[in-house]
Amino acid sequence: MQRIIISALSGGLFGAGLLVSGMTDTTKVQGWLDIFGAWDPTLAFVLGGAILPMMLAWHLTTKRATSLVGAPFPSKPNPRLGHNLVIGSVLFGAGWGLVGLCPGPAIASLSWGGTGGIVFILAMIAGMMAAPSLRLRIDKLAAI
């Protein structure tokens, strides 16, 4: 139960932060990516602002053995980059630019975003369902 309450607290604050920062507005996100247009620097402040508390949090994980609920902290990720990281990030970035939504803001705007947001989420879920088989194919191709 404790874990569920902590998850809801985190999700709620994440959503509030996305709304306050303006990141649920697709034109602000596209404005940041559009360096040759009317460039909007807001997203840099959002990302910078979000990284600060997390730097402190990661530092605190080195001082404690476990999290509040007694679960271990996530181990350092495998430093190997791999083709899936690059191919996936390029695909994600292109889709992000095309519409101006990434997964968090897409979900956050579900209750007021209208039909467009719902269609985006359904398409995103379809993409997520297809991802495991595409990953297998890419791995096979890369092994040749």
Partner: protein
């Protein structure tokens, strides 16, 4: 309004980072939106489905409750071209699961621990997003 946008960006960013810190220090989990959704979609994360659903439900409900605070109508201003919306959604879903992270997981949580994977992913999705704007807005005039 435009002049204060960066302040609200910073305040909202600090809230997003604090949300990620709560999940990390509380549950020992990385706050990655695509991972939390994707684990439910491809069934790889059904073991803790209740936590994922609680996170996502609060992510929808809390901003909705805040809307009356704003005097202006909040809109995502998403394009009405459904073909573009579907193409973008598919790419975001496929891409984030192949790369195992999005702006929150690789960007916020990865960069803050100086993870090479997080930094490389962020560089590539920002570059691809910028190129998409050049191609589709300035080149083809689609968006």
């Amino acid at each position: 309004m435009i002049q204060t946008d960066w302040i609200w960006g910073l305040v909202g960013g600090l809230m997003i980072g604090t949300a990620a810190a709560i999940l990390l220090l509380g549950n020992g989990r990385i706050m990655g939106a695509s991972g939390i959704i994707g684990g439910l979609v491809d069934r790889s994360g059904l073991g803790d489905w209740a936590e994922r659903v609680a996170f996502l439900a609060a992510l929808v409900v809390i901003p909705a409750l805040m809307l009356p605070i704003y005097n202006v109508e909040i809109s995502t201003k998403i394009t009405s071209n459904l073909g573009i919306v579907i193409a973008g959604g598919l790419m975001v879903g496929l891409g984030t699961r192949l790369a195992m992270g999005c702006t929150s997981g690789h960007g916020v949580c990865g960069i803050s621990r100086f993870s090479l994977r997080g930094i490389v992913a962020t560089v590539f999705y920002l570059l691809a997003g910028g190129i998409a704007m050049v191609l589709f807005r300035h080149g083809l005039g689609l968006i």
